[in-house]
Amino acid sequence: MTVTKAVQHKPKYAKRATRSWTPARLGIYAFLFSAAVFFLLPLYIMLVTSVKSMDEIRMGNIFALPTQFTIEPWIAAWTSACTGIACEGIRSGFMNSLSIAIPSTIIPILLGALNGYALSFWRPRGANVLFGILMVGAFIPVQVMIFPLVRILASIDLYSSLPGIVLVHTVFSMPVMTLLFRNYYSTIPHELFQAARIDGGGFARIFVQLVLPMSTPIIVVAAIMQLTGVWNDYILGLVFAGRDHLPMTVQLNNVINTTTGTRLYNVNMAATILTSLVPLTLYFVSGRWFVRGIAAGAVKG
């Protein structure tokens, strides 16, 4: 009996390559597709709004495609929207945002990883109590802490400076970052850590050479969260960064937010999308770090 014969006789199990359209898979795609529609609808409205003229927007059909397509709002948002007496669009804050976001993403992630690592593997005395306080603290609205923090930073000469704002971001992200890594590390087989200790690994060495390489998925998630958080942060940047480092979101808010002034919805939308491009880029390229089975083959049993 040849192979082909066998397959012909029993067509019950088709080859997997052609199996991809089972009802279950159709269901999966149907779900993902409808979810995607739900998620994309607001983006659609933002996009069409951003290429309409204000006159058209005033007419109020939010779903309609623009009758007269205009790219003006985008140009305005980037280069000429007023954000105070300067009318240079939101681009002026871009470099500021980068200079805040990069250290404020990297440092908190490293610290979070370090804390999580210490908490899950080394368990220094009292660390869990600290962590508990930290987690409770995470429930305090950020704004409540601004006033005392301003005082503290002023007293150490860091108020209104780049290190100051980075420090503030580090402080506010610490509970979540620590939580993220701590819980992630709790799923790593403890024996790996033990093996590394036998190998003579000290605290730092194990962290850098063993634990961090195993953390890529969670680092990506942390980076997504932290970069987005910092990039979109407004109030902290405003209060702590100092006027020379005001992030892009301050301009963005100046464009969007007004009580008694005129609102240019098209420019607002364009500015919002433009501002979000940096985190979006990270989201898009993050895929390859969501690796499967990072601890595969490590332990038996």
């Binding site: 105070g84 108020y159 808010n253 009580t259 008694t260 002034g261 005129t262």
Partner: protein, 399 residues
């Protein structure tokens, strides 16, 4: 104090950092004008624009606390900066006030706010009137309303007519602060100045529990029946857009809506009308922006602050600025012939000192004002017996 100054970035002699919340296109233009004039007068304007009044004020306060204060910061001509003054965090501008004779040129309600213990702590720059009735001439025409309403009853009648022809009578943005505006319009136009002052300024429990005030509240609630279902959450400019497109008839809002009309190329008096007060003696509710000057001992900064105070009240600055901003000048001695018809109406009313009354925030602490706002918006949006509302207001305004 000295050690705290160390933390601040030293501002070179002439540089003046100003925190304000004028960020929309029209506001920016207005701010730019001041900056320009300031520059002409020899100052250097360093702009820190922060959208949102609360936000901007919070930053200013935090900057002061953090020993890194701006040279000047925008506040409203209300009790907002009273605490700062009491904490000794602001410089006064008595010299300028005296030399420019503010007592003569500024309206009384404003003077009462900026003068604390005999010192002047803020420079007011404009007068916004919050409770204008704006109406669409096209809509009125369609509903067959020939005459501009001259009393609240006439206004209600007009609104009924609008409703009858399928026009939304009241274009309203369902946000708490907009409801407060409607309320103040009712209180000013129905209750009149006396009731207004005894409720808002004196917080007179008797007045609050009076039948007259009850009438005001009922009128307020009646207004709610003239709005459309989509009102909650709507921004004021979207409400204005309803007037522009003729979908709605009336909007009660501050004079900043003129910017929207202008953007839609509509002209005051031709396409839309503006009524400051329905009756001849309805109070003109003054609200406005002001700048305060955080405390500093640095002589050159003080210099810059004083220069700014002067520039802000400079008549030509006043005129041009307010044209752009849609408000009217704070000084009574500015020639307003070149302003639009609504502004001129406003200026005319302001000539009558008896009609000058501050908005609620001038008399109430921010906290009391907020509490009042909470009660009003709840009343507007839900079914609460008017007596209960009266009681709530009475207790919110009690000390």
């Amino acid at each position: 104090q000295n050690s705290m100054v160390r933390a601040a970035k030293p501002i070179p002699v002439e540089k003046a950092e100003i925190i304000h919340w004028w960020t929309s296109n029209s506001e920016s233009a207005a701010a730019k004008l001041i900056a320009e004039n300031y520059r002409k007068a020899g100052g250097i304007w360093v702009d820190t624009a922060i959208a949102g009044a609360d936000q901007a004020r919070a930053v200013a306060i935090n900057r002061i606390v953090g020993s890194n204060p701006p040279t000047a910061a925008q506040f409203n001509t209300t009790k907002q900066f009273l605490d700062l003054v009491e904490q000794g965090m602001l410089n006064n501008v008595d010299d300028v006030a005296k030399s420019e004779a503010w007592e003569k040129i500024l309206p009384e309600p404003v003077l009462n706010v900026i003068r604390i213990n005999g010192h002047y702590y803020a420079v007011p720059v404009n007068i916004h009137m919050q409770t204008w009735f704006w109406y669409s001439k096209a809509a009125f025409k369609k509903a067959g309303i020939a005459k501009e309403p001259a009393s609240m009853d006439e206004m209600f009648a007009a609104m009924d007519k609008l409703k009858a022809v399928g026009i939304i009578p009241l274009a309203h943005g369902g946000q708490a602060w907009q409801e407060t505006i409607v309320f103040q319009a009712m209180l000013a136009n129905i209750g009149g100045k006396d009731l207004y002052l005894s409720v808002i300024r004196d917080r007179d429990q008797k007045a609050i529990n009076s039948e007259a005030f009850k009438k005001v509240l009922l009128a307020f609630k009646r207004m709610q029946s003239y709005i459309d279902a989509g009102s909650p959450g709507r921004n004021w400019n979207d409400a204005t857009a309803m007037l522009i497109s003729g979908k709605a008839g009336v909007q009660i809002m501050g004079d900043w809506v003129k910017g929207e009309f202008a953007a839609a190329k509509q002209v005051a008096g031709k396409d839309f009308g503006c009524i400051a007060g329905l009756t001849q003696n309805s109070p003109y509710l003054i609200q406005g922006d002001a700048f305060v000057f955080p405390r500093t001992n640095n002589p050159s900064t003080v210099q810059a602050q004083k220069l700014l105070a002067k520039v802000l009240l400079n008549p030509s600055t006043q005129l041009e600025f307010n044209k752009l901003k849609g408000s009217i000048p704070i000084r009574n001695d500015v020639d307003t012939a070149t302003m639009d018809i609504c502004a001129q109406t406003g200026m005319a009313i302001m000539k009558d000192k008896s009609r000058q009354v501050g908005i609620s925030e001038i008399f109430l602490t921010p906290d009391q004002n907020g509490a009042l706002q909470d009660i009003l918006t709840a009343y507007w949006n839900t079914r609460i017996p008017v007596e209960k509302v009266q009681k709530s207001i009475a207790s919110a305004l009690k000390d």
